[in-house]
């Protein structure tokens, strides 16, 4: 992370929530810009070039989804939605429009802050993790296509499992929708999630320390999956000699 203050754009019409968010982020060293309407939000995003956008979906002059699409047209800035809309279809629409994360109101302040920080950090790290990754008990070398667990035993993936893992990795720790994942792995003709569920289950059994409480391949209800990477593990040769 750089020393410069990161700027956060808050698009939210309710003064009370505005206040809470402003106090929360300013107290944690972020420069806060607030916009009350969708139009001002779009404008402010261009003007202030924030490092992250926190946006409400219900705005007085339009839908937050429009703002997201407008920003996505020219920028890859992380966008977190903070909304009281709980319906899966609405959340799914937000992700399909290019949102990176979705926090439900009423939110917990520490949780929101953690997500904002994680998002800024990830965005700052320009290159996607490549080479050797640590996923729980397993070290995966994506270039050599080898995975070994702590004891140095090789973990074998089926070709489809490997393709799912690759697709999830390409998205960093952002949520990948079911449709996008199925499209990347099986192609556009397939439209049911059954095989995906089965493969995610078998991937978890190979990667997770406790497959019944996954920590790395996380399910986002009704939306898709998210891969959480512990960090980049030791370099390639260590894996090969193990």
């Amino acid at each position: 992370m750089t020393d410069a203050m990161h700027a956060i754009l808050i698009v939210e019409d309710d003064p009370a929530i505005q206040n809470v968010l402003r106090i929360l982020f300013e107290a944690n060293g972020l420069r806060v810009v607030v916009a009350e309407t969708a139009r001002r939000g779009e404008h402010s995003a261009k003007l202030n070039r924030p490092d992250i956008v926190v946006i409400d979906l219900g705005l007085p002059d339009g839908d937050g989804l429009q703002v997201i699409s407008a920003i996505r047209a020219w920028s890859s800035v992380p966008i977190i939605i903070v909304s009281a809309r709980t319906a899966e279809a609405q959340r799914l629409a937000a992700f399909e429009n290019g949102a990176d994360d979705y926090v439900l109101k009423p939110f917990s302040a520490p949780e929101l802050l953690a997500r904002v920080r994680a998002m800024i950090r990830r965005h700052a790290r320009a290159d996607r993790p490549k080479g050797v990754l640590q996923l729980g008990e397993v070290l995966v070398d994506m270039t050599l296509r080898v995975a070994r667990n702590r004891d140095g035993r090789e973990v074998r993936f089926t070709p489809l499992e490997y393709r799912i893992l690759e697709s999830l990795l390409r998205h960093g720790d952002r949520i990948m929708t079911h449709a996008a994942l199925i499209n990347e792995v099986w192609g556009p003709t397939r439209d049911d999630t059954r095989a995906l569920r089965v493969y995610i289950g078998s991937l978890r059994r190979k990667l997770e320390g406790d497959p019944s409480r996954p920590r790395h391949i996380l399910t986002e209800l009704g939306i898709g999956y998210r891969l959480v990477i512990d960090g980049e593990g030791p370099s390639g040769p260590a894996l090969q000699t193990a």
């Binding site: 709980t86 899966e88 279809a89 009423p106 917990s108 089926t158 070709p159 489809l160 049911d192 999630t193 059954r194 095989a195 569920r197 089965v198 493969y199 995610i200 289950g201 078998s202 059994r205 497959p211 019944s212 409480r213 996954p214 996380l218 399910t219 209800l221 009704g222």
Partner: protein
């Protein structure tokens, strides 16, 4: 009644409905045969019997035969009897000549008496036939009305009517129901056509002219073309049309049968009316229940929202007014209190909304295929902080089938059950989550080692605003289990409470599964590995 047995009795019934229909010529032959037989029998006893008794024998034969013959044949029999009597018995024998004019008078009287008796016999028989036809017609209608009485929805009623009409009239039939705008759509039982008790199609759907059917609906009167179109009359409008097409090559239906068809149509109309009335009553009951729910809800909410609100307002005012000069500790306590109370209220609100939505049946289930271990993991993650002080153990076999469910609802069921377990059992005790596949059901259970279920019927726990302990500090209004049950039932499943073996409470969710689907995927998996 078995369809085949029914068919033969219907054939007899249809013959009885129109006795004149059957072919005549065999009857005339029978009449002549009766005359010949009588003559042959009586002739040897000519001398002993005497002329008068022979005449009586002929009259007797004519009377008995009239019970079976048609009117024409009976008249032929009487005339043939008279001529035979004249030829063989009246002197001079073997000649139609008559010696004495008294014999002429005798022949005349004999003919008239035979004709009168035969006529009486025929009308007695006609009455008997009519009575039995009426009886059979009642039986046929009764058979249908009995089927209609057990049917509970319009589609199965239409199917029952079509089945009966097909069987009775040897025809194909279809029921078209009119919607509010008067548009007609054919009612089809599952599988495309009406089926009998063994699921064999009774008859295929007939061709019909939608224009004629529409005309029948508009005019509310029956229409006879190549098929018979009968309106189904409701109290205010025509509810539909029955189209009956007699089997190819059959004669057009006689008027008695048309009347019977009308009776069938009227019977079906009445039954459909009954469904509508029942539906209206059900809707009224639901509306009343909703009002009751709203009232209970309001009463409950006014208490359960005001209490935390009072705490929040109090704590807020303490923090905001500087002159209380609170220590850091106390401010944190108040802040935590505000947060916790606000969360409780938010939880209560979403519970109420969730339950209302489910009870109103808003929208279809957002169902997809899910692995149960995934859903359990999500429920555990959602309640991670709450469950930190309990020892949660899982027993989820690897080979569990996928289930086709609305994941949000299932996670909510499991979450509510876990939340209950933490509310009603002391920290440090065990909570066990287990899943098992049983034939076509998936059983997921959440069990604890707490004090167990309260005394009384466990089903009462699932009532709205019912709590395990009525007066307690435990947050909530008693909607958790009601939501679980509503959500499970939306999936065609169920939630039950029972005592856990070895102590504690156990809640079991059973959900339907579709097993063959999983096997297909597993085969697919194996092939991909070898690829």
């Amino acid at each position: 009644m078995r369809p085949t047995a029914r068919k033969s009795s219907f054939d007899r019934f249809l013959r009885d409905l129109h006795p004149g229909e059957s072919a005549h010529w065999p009857q005339y032959v029978q009449a002549l045969a009766a005359t010949c037989l009588c003559t042959a029998c009586v002739y040897p006893f000519n001398r002993t019997l005497g002329l008068f008794n022979v005449a009586m024998c002929y009259v007797l034969v004519a009377s008995i035969a009239a019970l079976r013959l048609g009117r024409g044949a009976a008249v032929l029999l009487c005339v043939a009897n008279m001529l035979a009597f004249d030829f063989f018995f009246v002197p001079p024998a073997f000649s139609f000549e008559v010696m004495d004019t008294r014999y002429l008078f005798m022949l005349g009287v004999m003919l008239v008496v035979a004709l009168v008796i035969a006529n009486l016999m025929i009308s007695v028989r006609r009455h008997r036939d009519l009575a039995s036809a009426r009886e059979r017609r009642t039986a046929v209608l009764y058979a249908m009305s009995r089927e209609l009485a057990v049917a509970t929805d319009a589609a199965s009623m239409a199917a029952a009517a079509v089945r009966n009409i097909c069987a009775v009239f040897h025809s194909t039939a279809v029921v078209l129901m009119a919607d509010e705008a008067g548009r007609l759509t054919p009612v089809q039982a599952a599988g495309g056509g009406p089926v009998d008790a063994e699921d064999h199609p009774v008859c295929e759907l007939p061709d019909y002219d939608p224009a004629i059917a529409q005309h029948v609906v508009d005019r509310a009167e029956r229409c006879l073309r190549d098929a018979i179109y009968l309106p189904l009359l409701g109290t205010r409008r025509v509810r539909g049309v029955i189209v009956v097409r007699p089997a190819a090559g059959a004669r057009p239906l006689p008027s008695e049968q048309l009347q019977l068809l009308d009776a069938f149509a009227a019977q079906l109309s009445l039954s459909l009316q009954r469904v509508r009335v029942a539906q209206a009553a059900e809707a009224a009951r639901l509306a009343a229940e909703r009002v009751l729910l709203c009232n209970t809800l309001l009463a409950s909410i006014s208490h359960d929202l005001r209490t935390p609100l009072a705490a929040i307002a109090g704590a807020g005012s303490l923090i905001s007014q500087a002159h209380y000069s609170l220590s850091e500790d106390r401010r944190t306590t108040l802040g935590t209190l505000i947060e916790r109370k606000a969360r409780d209220m938010s939880q209560l609100l979403s519970n109420v909304l969730e339950l209302t939505k489910m009870e109103l049946g808003a929208g279809p289930l957002n169902a997809d295929w899910h692995a149960i271990d995934d859903l359990v993991a999500l429920a555990l993650r959602a309640h991670e902080t709450r469950l930190a002080k309990w020892r949660v153990s899982l027993s989820l076999p690897l080979d569990l089938p996928l289930i086709f469910v609305d994941a949000t609802l299932i996670v909510q069921i499991l979450g509510n059950l876990l939340e209950n377990a933490t509310k009603y059992t002391p920290p440090g005790t065990a909570i066990m989550i287990a899943a098992a596949a049983r034939a076509d059901r998936m059983l997921v259970s959440v069990a604890d080692r707490g004090p167990g279920l309260p005394p009384g019927d466990p089903e009462r726990l699932f009532e709205k605003f019912r709590r395990g302990r009525t007066e307690s500090h435990i947050a909530g209004v008693g909607l958790g289990l009601a939501i679980c049950r509503a959500a499970a039932r939306l999936h065609g499943g169920e939630v039950r409470a029972m005592t856990h073996t070895g102590g504690g409470a156990r809640f079991e969710v059973s959900l339907p599964v579709n097993k063959p689907e999983l096997q297909r995927i597993v085969e697919f998996d194996a092939s991909s590995v070898s690829a």
